[in-house]
Amino acid sequence: MPSNEFFTQDSLATRYSSLATNMKLSDLKKGEKATIMRIRDGELTKQLMTLGLDFSAPVEMKYKAPFGGPVCIKNNKKFIVIRSSEAQEIAIASL
C-alpha cells in the first residue's frame, strides 16, 4: 500500500473494499452525491481536512468550471473548490 494514501473509512473491511473503487470525484456530475473513500495525496488530504471536510458525511458536486477547470463540492455546510486534477486523486463511492 502506498505510504501516504489516506483512507477515510475506519473499518478494515471498508478500507479494503474501497480499494476496488474506481470512481473518482472528478467523475461526479453536477448535483450528484458520493462518499469520499480514499485520497492519494497526503498534502491534499491535510488541506481538505483542515478546511473542515467531514468524511463521514456525503459530498455533493455543486459546480464545475468549463474546459476541465476547477470543481466546487459541498460538504458539512461548506463550499470547497479544488482543481479537477486534484479531484482525480480522490476515490469515491457514489450514493
Partner: protein, 697 residues
Amino acid sequence: MNHSRIALIGNPNSGKTSIFNQLTGLRQRTGNFPGITVDKTSGTLAKYEAIEVVDLPGLYDLYPDSQDEAVVLRELVTTTDRYDAAVYVADASHLDRALLLYSQVADLGVPMIFVVNMMDEAEKSGYRFNTNRLKSRLGVPVIYTDARSGEGVDRLVSRMTEQNYDLPNAFFRSRYTRENVLENGYHIWISTCFDRYLKDNTAFAEHAEVVEALGSEGQTSILEVPQNQSTNEGIVLEDLENRKRLINIIAAEVVQSPKETRQNEITEKLDKWLTHPVFGYLIFGGILFLIFQAIFSWSALPMDLMDWTFSSLSGIIQSTFGNGVLGRLVAEGIIPGISGVLIFIPQIALLFLFIGLLEASGYMSRVVFLMDKSMQRFGLNGKSVVPLMSGMACAIPAVMACRTIENPKERLITILVTPFMTCSARLPVYAILIAVAVPSTSVLGMNLQGLVLFGLYLLGIFAALFGAAILNRFVKSNAKSYLIHEMPVYRIPKAKDILMNIWSKVKTFVWEAGRIIFVLAIALWFLASYGPNLNQKTAAYETTLTEQNIAPEILDNQVAAFKLENSYIGIVGKAVEPVFRPLGYDWKISIALLTSFAAREVFVGTLATIYSIGEDFSEETITQKLENETDPITGRKRFNLATALSLLIFYALAMQCISTLAIVRRETKSWTYPILQLLIMTALAYFGAFGVYWAFG
C-alpha cells in the same frame, strides 16, 4: 497599565480583520514579518495604547507546510518579543473547523480569550451554543461578538484591559524531554502535541517550558521544509485525525447545528448564475467593464481639482519667492514632484474600493474559480487575477498582493508580468499621444481614439499573458501547485473595513512609490535646470531674442526651451538621439523619454517644457502645439501617426518605474529579477516600437 502584546488568531473569513479594525481603528500599520514577505498588521487599542494587537495571517492549522503557517508558529514559539496572550476569533457557523487551530495554539500553552464571531448570521441560521459547556471544555473566557454590528466588541475590550488571561485546557499532553525537542525539531513538535491516551484536560504549564527550551536551533528546524515528505506527512495526518476526533466530541456537546443555513441557501441561488459556464463569465466581464467606466469618470473631477490646486500653488510660490533657487526648487521641483504622486490617488483608491468590495463580499473566490484553468495555461494561478487587476491602478500594491499565491513559481511569474498591465501612470501619456495623432473619427459606430486606448489596454493584458507563458518554460519549480480553497458565503461588506483597506493600500502607494518619485522629481529638476555655462548661454540667448522684439510670453517659453536643451539632461538627450531615431523620435522626444524612465507621467510635463509651452499648459494647448510641430528637414509632422504609435507601444511595454523595480526587489528578495525585468521589458519596448514605426512609417 503594563504593556502587553496580543495576537489575533483565527481562520480566514472569520471576521478576524473586522475585529482588528474595531479594536485598533486608525491606530494600525502594516509591515512585514522579519526576513519574510508575509503581512504583519499591528496596532494599539483605542484609549489603551499600552495594549498592542497584532493581526496574524488567517490560517486553518499550524502544521508548518506554508510560509504563513511557519511564520505564525515561529511567532508563537519565539522567546524574544513574546506574545502575552492571544484572542482567538472563530466563525460561529464553523466552530468545529475553528477548534482545530485553536487546539494547536492551546497546546502551545498560549493564554487565550475565545471569541465566537458572526453571531448574527449563526443565530439566524439556527445555531445554538452551550456556553457553560464550551467554557469548561476550553478553560478560557468565551465572548460572543458580531463584528458587523459591533455587538460584543466592548465586552472583548474590557476583558482585554483586565490584562489577566487564562491558560487554556490542553487538548493533547506532551510526551517529550528537553533533549528530544532540541534534537528532532519538527517531528518532536508534532509528537509533543500528541497523546494516544485521551485523558485529562488539566492545565498544561509544562508545555510552555518545553517551547522555551526549543531555543533558536530547535525553532529553526521547525521552519525547515521537511526533507522526508512522506514521514512528516504521515505524522501530521495521524495528529490531525486524533485532534479531529476529540474536537468532534467537543463540538457535538457544545453546538447545536441546523441542517442547512439561510446564508447557504442565498449563496447557492446566487452561485447558480455567478459560476455558470456561460453567464458566469459574462457577468464577470460586465462587472469589469462597469468598474473601469466608473474609475475613469469618477476620478476625472478630483484629478482636475488637484491639477488646478497644485498649479495655483506653484504660481503663488513663484510670485512670493521670485526666481531664486529656493523658489524654483519648490515651484518647479518639489510641488510637481508631490502632485505627480498625489494625482494618482483617486484612480488607485477607486480601483481598490472595487477590488475590496469584490473580496469582502466573497465574489473574488468565484472569480478565481472561473479563471483558474485559463490562468494555468500561462503558468499562473487563479489567484493571480487579483494582482493583475490591481496592476491596472498601480503595479506597486499589485506586486504586493502576489503574497497570497503559495506556489513560488506562480508567484514569481505573476510578480514579473504584472507591470505589463496598463497602470494609471501610462494614461496621461496615452491621452496626449492619441489626441495628437489619432483622428477622432467613427469606426463601426465607435470612436477611433477610444478604440486605440482600448487596444492599448488589451496590449498590456496580452503582453502579461504572453510573458507569463514564456516564463513558464524557463522558471523551474518542484513545489506542487494546489488550488484548494473555500468559497465563503456571500456577505455584505462592512464599509469601515473597506475604507481601512483602501487607506492602507493608498498609504503603501504614497510611501513606497511616492518617496522615490519625489526624490527623482527633484533630481530631474536639478538636471533640467543646470548645465555647463547654462546661465551665461541663456542670458546671451535671451538678449538675442529681446533684440528681435518678440512678445514677452513667447520669449519666456523659448528661453525655457533653450534652457532645457542646454541643461545636463538636454545634452544627454541629444547624445542618445541616434539610438532613438530608428523609432521615429527626435532629440526632444528622447529627452522626454529619458526623464520618464524614472516615472512615466513625467513625460507630459517634459514635453510641455521642450516644446515651449510654458508652465501654463492644458491638454488642449499641448495637443495643438504638438500637432503643429514639424520636422525642419522633411517638413513632415513631428507627431505623425507612425511616431505616435511607436511611442505608445514603447510606453506600453517599457519598464519605466523605479518604484516598481524597488518593490519587485523586495518581494523577490533578489536584484536579479528587477534587473532582468528592466532589461527585457525595455528591449521588448524598443523593438516593438521599432517594428511599429517601420510598419507605419
